[in-house]
């Protein structure tokens, strides 16, 4: 048991940055992202016997993290109603995180954090973490077409917020 925990801690040390990065970008909230990261690793421990190595351990952890974030968002939505305004108010959190980065990175993180949740989830998974439309739609439990539409919307909103030229109709 203790040996297993030692090994699991090694896995935690190796993967926590990618899990926390995903949770933070999906929630735009440091404290919440920390809670969700902890919950992700606890869930991973519980479900280790089900890990079949059909994907990398990192991808498996990301799937658990996305489920954890979505579950939390659903519960919060039930309690608070539409949280879109709250999410947008938190839009400068990642800008603070990227304060030491070049201006473009800081602006981009802030623009991502200010996106509506649905568009932000898809953009983070597909745009930042490089998952395919199929993988992203499976993780989020939406149709591939919905995923593509949300990504198109997210990129359009990002370009608007970054002051870049818009696609002509």
């Amino acid at each position: 048991m203790q040996g297993s925990k030692t090994a699991f801690e090694e896995l935690y040390r190796e993967h926590v940055g990618r899990v926390y990065g995903l949770c933070l970008r999906m929630t735009s909230d440091h404290a919440l992202a920390e809670d969700l990261t902890q919950e992700t690793f606890v869930q991973a421990w519980r479900n280790l016997p089900r890990f079949e190595a059909r994907s990398s351990f990192g991808t498996w952890l990301h799937r658990i993290a996305v489920n954890t974030v979505l579950g939390q968002a659903r519960r919060r939505s039930e309690l608070l109603g539409d949280t879109g305004t709250i999410e947008q108010q938190l839009g400068d959190v990642l800008a603070d995180e990227a304060a030491g980065e070049p201006g473009s990175t800081r602006d981009l993180e802030a623009a991502i954090a200010g996106l509506p949740p649905g568009a932000r989830y898809v953009l983070v998974l597909a745009g930042v973490y490089g998952y395919s439309h199929e993988e992203t739609s499976a993780m989020l439990g939406v149709a591939v077409g919905t995923c593509k539409a949300q990504l198109h919307r997210a990129r359009k909103l990002l370009r608007q917020r970054l002051g870049e030229p818009q696609e002509q109709p």
Binding site: S4, A7, Q38, L48, P49, A53, F57, R159, E167
Partner: protein, 195 residues
Amino acid sequence: MSPLTGKHERRLDQDLAGLPQSIEPRRDLWPGIAARLESGRVRPARRWAWQAAAAVLLVASSSIVTLQLVKSRVPAVADAPASAPVPSAMPAAFGPGHALDPEYLAAKEQLAEMLAQRVDAMPASARSKLAANLAELQRATAEINAALALQPGDPLLEELLLNAYQAELGVMANVNQLTRLNGTVNQTDSARIRL
């Protein structure tokens, strides 16, 4: 899309892909996780995976028997495209200085040989997917074996390794079963070769 807009699109994609994927939390989250694991509400990895492995082996072995029975009746597939390289079965070991059961290894070897014979009958997309799946499994196994070399006998790592072996057998048995009726895999069936 105008050329200018297309250029901005590509730059945006590059900027997104260039963002750091890893962000370190501002505090160490492990103590909180470890406390929850210690609370007793979370069960540890278990040894029953050996029984599951035996079950998978049984399924895999039965598919071999089935295939051997129908093999002589399966026509060769004409005009099958040249096969993409598919990784061979990974050498099965259970950490340094350990080996898996000889019967397990023999069944695995038979499945691998059959897979090599069948792979030409698969559509190119399915072959590519299969190769990617097996390569991913081999990569995962190499990672776990490396960790086992550092911590020999660790039950968690052993279980993860066993899961990887099961997954590989499952993929091979799945492909072999899908090709058993007519020697080829149609597009619908190829979609069942899941990641």
